[in-house]
Symmetry: C4
Subunit: 277 residues, 4 copies
């Protein structure tokens, strides 16, 4: 087995606890999570001032680590049959969404050397966060939510359409009613949508709210309707998620009479009863 094959085996996700590949996965996840932590706390000025050296060193270490890891991945990917071709296969891999996310995570750090504006580059550093999605590959439970969304796609779409309908209609109504009384808060329909979202999700910041009697009356009706309507996709997601995981728990035991998933193991089927006659 060549060195490329060995490296590929180490870089890919491993299930075998304790193996070298598994240890590398643990190290990679740790570096990613530490990166997220550093990205969060380096925005706190006091902390950044005090630990500047440590934070900068860690950032450079991460950039170099992710660069090497990326290059090795590109080099070894030809071990996968799908990316076999030495040039086209590697290009195909580099253009896959996850590889682009990986690239975006460290590329902005090299841009200043290429003469790019530093302020623009700082903004791009947010892409580092997307490395979190790499961690997602290691969490099997992510599949659960993906299944729920695929399973309940129809329900979610319909309820989203309703929510959009209500969002548009309520924004238009409140805009026409409140615009003259509060030309700043309700300056346009898209601006009024900010109020609608805050009301329909029941967040209610309180920065904008209707003040005319008619606006308040219609706003009340919208709030009541909206709370009910917004609860529909929420309820669907919650019940779907609950079903999904309970289904996983008892995958093969289904009541032979009504086909519903069975939780107890002491299942007595009618067949068994009849054959004992």
């Amino acid at each position: 087995m060549g060195i490329r094959r060995q490296l590929y085996e180490i870089l890919k996700i491993s299930d075998k606890k304790g193996s070298l590949s598994w240890q590398f996965d643990v190290f990679l996840i740790t570096v990613i999570l530490l990166n997220v932590l550093v990205t969060i706390i380096e925005t706190v000025e006091d902390i950044y001032k005090q630990y500047r050296l440590f934070i900068d060193l860690f950032n450079w270490f991460s950039v170099i680590f992710f660069t090497i890891e990326y290059l090795l991945r590109v080099w070894t990917i030809v071990e996968v049959p799908r990316y076999r071709h030495p040039v086209l296969g590697r290009l195909k891999f580099m253009l896959s969404p996850l590889a682009i996310i990986d690239l975006m995570a460290f590329l902005p750090f090299y841009l200043p050397f290429l003469g790019f504006d530093l302020r623009f580059v700082r903004l791009l550093r947010i892409f580092r966060l997307f490395r979190v999605f790499r961690v997602a590959k290691y969490i099997k439970a992510i599949d659960a939510i993906r299944h729920v969304i695929r399973h309940k796609k129809e329900e979610l779409l319909v309820s989203l359409v309703f929510v959009c309908f209500l969002l548009i209609i309520s924004s238009c109504i409140i805009y026409y009613v409140e615009h003259d009384a509060q030309p700043d808060a309700f300056s346009s329909i898209p601006a009024t949508m900010w109020w609608s979202i805050a009301t329909l999700t029941t967040v209610g910041y309180g920065d904008v709210y209707p003040i005319t009697p008619l606006g308040r009356f219609l706003g009340s009706i919208i709030a009541v309707l909206g709370v009910g309507l917004f609860a529909i996709p929420t309820g669907i997601l919650a019940s779907g998620f609950s079903e999904e995981i309970s289904k996983k728990k008892s995958k093969s035991t289904v009541c032979p009479t009504c086909g519903q998933p069975v939780k107890e193991h002491t299942l007595k089927t009618p067949e068994a009863n009849n054959s004992s006659n």
Copy 2:
């Protein structure tokens, strides 16, 4: 087949993908959705100033298009047995809610030519939005929510009665408790209802809230009770909606023992078991 018949066939909703009638439906929905989009963005002053010509042109195109479409619909509607009579049938159709909505969508644009006040006319343009309801006819899933509402009518009504009870009683109590401390915010019971709605739906804008200790104590109890009570219709809607769609998915497979909808196809009924004895 006369031209009227042909036109009627094109104008009515078609299921046959790719047919002329289906293409017309797609075009109509596109125009309606573009209208909604334009209605929303033309309220943003900067956009309107810049794209005034385009927006005005689109609005006039829409008005003319909907006018012609309306007139053609009135002309061809006699093809439907129910509206057969050339005068009474057409009148009957024109007085149907959906036809009135269609009429209201373009009529306000002609009013200024008849000497109507422009400001009043601008307000009427909101009716354009109701054309969205025409799109609803094309979305079959709208039936789902209609079924849920019809199916859960009783539950929803009862919980609405409770919500109204709580709304009235809480508004009265807080009005009598807070009116003297905040005569402006809680000026009357209907004004206090604005607080009640914001509290019971948990929107909580924060523009009005009790400040007296008794008001806060009673307000707390109302909030806790109200959140619970408001959740009832919400929960009913969510569960009803979920049931409705899952029922649709497995319409004919029902457990022969308990009549509940069955999800798996490997249903073994007791009959089958007995007959194999």
Copy 3:
């Protein structure tokens, strides 16, 4: 049948649509609901000024009507075996909660004649609202919620205990953390409870909120925990209510195999299958 018996029959709740007693019930409910409406709108100064005469006349009519109705009820109640005794039976009836509510509804109007302070009397007029509870007797669906509460008593109590626990502990923590930074907003633990209630119910008026980093950190944890915990009684109520009404719909049809309520009428029990063998 004496006049007292006849009057008693009219005054009591009737199921027979169209009968004199039923007509009286309809009239009584109308008067009560109109009273609620007048109580609400008479607090709007503009409306009260304009319709003062009408409102005052209606209030006096209501008071006289309810007085007569109350006296007649006390007179005729001896027709009920439980209240047979001419003196003790009537006293027992007069001390029943619903009779006291009825008395409180009109008594405050006579108090000014007895030299009571008018301002105090105005406050007492809120009791008029409690007449709404009389309407509750006519709504059979009220039983549904009473059943739910009785059925889910244990769950509701436990979750209420949890909510109280969280309310007390979170109020104490935030009080000790925020009191020094905001001595006015978080002046005492009972005052901090106002914040806790607004946060746990997710109303969030925004009149008080933690400002110290520690307060915000702990406040965030309380918010997340609280939202989850508060949702429990809410979910229990919603599901219980939904069960209750669906149970009512199919009272006697229960799956003989698993005892769950059955919705379809084409129930095929295993017995039927066996007997056809």
Copy 4:
């Protein structure tokens, strides 16, 4: 039976209503709940000033009572086989979490005599509240929630991971978008998390909110997504709790066919039907 044994029997939790041990439990719970009440109301300055003597006396009585109770518990604990050893057993008991909580409840009151700073000591008095957890041992229903959390551990963890993901990503995005417009409100990513928590839990205090169009647009999407995602653990908890208690109610009656809990007692199993053939 020695006095130590007798004392141990009194101090431990008793199920036998009316026994001396049971009476002691009732007294202990009363003292604890009164302590909680006093801890809450003594922070209200007016009440503390007026009832200072009574409150101080009660506090000292509680401290002495809890000290004696603690010492007696330590003395008698050797009656339990697990803590049999006179020195190590008692030390082991004293280091158990509940014993430490008990100690923390009265220890701070003795600290001023040992020269500790009074202000620091006052802060420690919050530990008195943790005595409430002692009451928890007496409420059997607490087991219900513990079961739910253990049973739904996987679901809750996964949804918590999602909530954290969304919290971090939304805070980072809004920080980068809003930081320049509102450097005070969105000073750092941890500070922005305060906005995220308020939005995702729909509390929405309204102290911080995005003001740039892009910030509002992204904030709207975060609000809608977050409300849905936050509802998942909530829904899981609510349904798990509901299941748990209904399972307890009908512990031994399970449908023999599908193993789901059975509510009705008129269960007719297929076996019974077959044997009657």
